[in-house]
């Protein structure tokens, strides 16, 4: 398959891994954060830790939209299904996110009108097909998915569809990274920068990380070779004493981003003064709300949502894992109360969540290795 097989070539993977081993200083411990959950998933899915030297430690970042969504937001969204005539729609990875009274899937099993959609436009089309119902899109994601939500709202306005609204849970990546950089228990040497987000925002927004914090950032693709090459590029910067933003994913990411998408974002959305990130707390100017000009399609303005706030179970250490302070399996609930099948914390829900990825692809492997040792 084009654009996939080339980037999974076993021979090249071994070569890059050898180069990384050659370059890594054996007296040094490298802590590199991959910001994006897609990278976390690929790292575990392809067993990349197996080919890296042991002194390169990969820390999993906050770039998993489902993972940073506070449970109260899910509860708020699901509360609408209790009134008649509302269809709740969401992307697939939201369907198993636990709310206080169960996930969207569990609500659906009890009869609530809940549909999985593959694109925001599917939700809008559903509204067209069900004029007697109100269709709500529980929108989630970083700048990657926000433009398609914005375009859908513009479309709803153009088509004068009034039985459709969006509950925006869109967040922006930079404040999340900043929160991590400011976190006192965080010691990082560099970042594998998010790939998909950067297709929209470009590479420039990361420049402060190199300039103000002196950390290399390499925007990376998602195939095994992309990720290994990015790690190699970070090592080269570190060994040369450089801290710059580099673009490994230039085949997809333009340095200046997608100007058309950014324009649509600015037209429909504005920054919220603050927004709660699960595990990281309230972060100012870190999320998108729908501008007043589009209030008619804003779920939060059309309906009065209860504004539920839920504190995470005390034993769950999602925040520490999200910040990379703990490894997934070091959380007290990991693999016991909290599994991909019955997740307690959101990091266990999405396949891009560090805990789910670790549980799915690594957990028993290390158990078995320990048993052999």
């Amino acid at each position: 398959m084009k654009y996939v097989d080339e980037f999974r070539d076993p021979h090249l993977i071994r070569q890059v891994a050898d180069e990384i081993r050659r370059l890594a200083n054996p007296d040094r411990h490298y802590r590199i954060m991959e910001v994006c959950g897609g990278h976390t998933h690929a790292i575990y899915r392809f067993g990349l830790a197996d080919v890296l030297p042991s002194n390169i430690e990969l820390i999993h970042g906050p770039g998993c939209p489902v993972c940073v969504l506070p449970m109260g937001r899910t509860d708020d969204g699901l509360s609408l299904t209790a009134r008649g005539g509302v269809i709740f729609t969401a992307f697939g990875d939201v369907m198993r996110v636990p709310g206080t009274h169960g996930s969207p899937l569990e609500h659906k099993a009890r009869g609530a009108e809940i549909r999985m959609v593959y694109s925001p436009l599917d939700a809008l089309n559903l509204a067209g097909a069900n004029p007697e119902k109100h269709v709500m899109l529980f929108a989630i994601g970083f700048e990657t998915t926000a433009p398609s939500t914005a375009l859908t709202i513009l479309q709803a306005k153009a088509q004068k569809v009034t039985n459709f609204s969006v509950m925006s849970n869109h967040v922006t990546i930079i404040p999340g990274i900043k929160a991590i950089l400011e976190s006192p228990d965080m010691r990082l040497d560099g970042f594998v920068g998010p790939g998909h987000v950067s297709t929209v925002i470009g590479c420039r927004p990361y420049e402060f990380i190199a300039r103000d914090y002196g950390k290399p950032v390499v925007v990376s693709g998602f195939e095994p070779l992309d990720i290994l090459q990015s790690i190699l590029m970070i090592l080269r910067q570190l060994e040369a004493g450089r801290a710059e933003v580099e673009n490994q994913y230039a085949r997809v990411v333009p340095w200046e981003g997608n100007l058309a998408a950014l324009k649509v974002l600015a037209e429909v959305f504005e920054l919220r003064p603050y927004f709660e990130w699960r595990g990281l707390g309230f972060i100012s100017q870190s999320a998108l709300k729908i501008r007043d000009a589009y209030a008619e399609w804003d779920t939060e303005k059309r309906f009065s949502l209860p504004g539920i706030r839920v504190t995470d179970p005390k034993a769950a250490q999602c925040g520490e894992v999200l910040k990379g302070v703990l490894k997934p399996h070091q959380c007290k609930l990991f693999g016991k109360e909290c599994t991909p099948e019955s997740p307690v914390g959101a990091l266990m829900v999405s396949s891009e969540g560090a805990c789910a990825a670790y549980h799915n692809y690594v957990h028993r492997k290390t158990e078995a290795a320990a048993a052999v040792a």
């Binding site: 398959m1 891994a17 990349l48 599917d122 991909p340 099948e341 396949s351 158990e367």
Partner: protein, 345 residues
Amino acid sequence: MSEPPLVRFRDPQIEMSHGAGGKASRRLVEGLLAPLFGGPLLGPLGDAAHLDHDGSRLAFTTDSFVVSPLRFPGGSIGDLAVNGTVNDLAVSGAKPLALVVSFILEAGLPAAVLEAEVRALADAAQRAGVQIVGGDTKVVEHGKADQIYITTAGIGRVDPRVRITPQSVQPGDQILLSGPIGDHGITILLARGEIDLEADIRSDTRSVLPLVESLIEAAASGLRWMRDPTRGGVATALNELARDCGHGIVLWEEALPVREPVRGACELLGLDPLHIANEGQFLAVVAPELADAALAALRAVPGGEEAIVIGEVREQPARTVLGTASYGGTRVVDMLVGDPLPRIC
């Protein structure tokens, strides 16, 4: 007085995942059904029950079909209903003797739709060389079912040369797969039209009996285990084997046969082909000294040309399926969790 059966099923309500063939299904079967039905004849939870009767060994099985849409490229619910039960018998080492079929029909169903499926059942039975000898029909109010649900049950005679159990599986045994995986699940997903994807792909629904018979002729003495990886896919079937035999299963990721459209759809949708359902493939575990002969026997049958060795049994990691790539990366391949693709069969 005997001990009351131990019901361990604690899920508060039935979810779609309980029907998906993965972890939740196993919990339901092992936690609720097996403890309450458990008698001396309820054996290991394989594809078919084996009953000894008058000196010969019979296999007995049943399967229900609720697929949506009813017709899809490569087949229909009628094909699935015959092939599914025939395959369950075949991979338990049995030659099917007879099937019975039951319908649950929704009032308002056009008679032509029913007739098309009855014809599909009859044709599939003829192709598989088995007779449909009885059945039942029920009708429910409009809106209380989705057009047609079909249940088939089948009985077969187990080949006396075959002794397949998970416990006979040994480190070193080879894992054979009859052909490309994921065709059925992805075909159904695309046939629903919910995703704007088009691909030239058909369900693999077919009877695997000719393949199994050829394999038995060539390697009966070294044949340890067989399974048709339907819901939950190859990953779930092999995890059940790993759990039941106590050994590890190592897969060669690059050897797994997956057609390009299936790979493409899985990449786009974030699915693992190992979790996607098949309706015309089967897995076999064969002693290493007979693996070459077994593979040649499969490839000699029309439709078996793409059969391949996808991995082997090892002592470690115990009770786990491990995927390995030639560059040295490894991952755990888990059972299906949840239900990414409901109502595929």
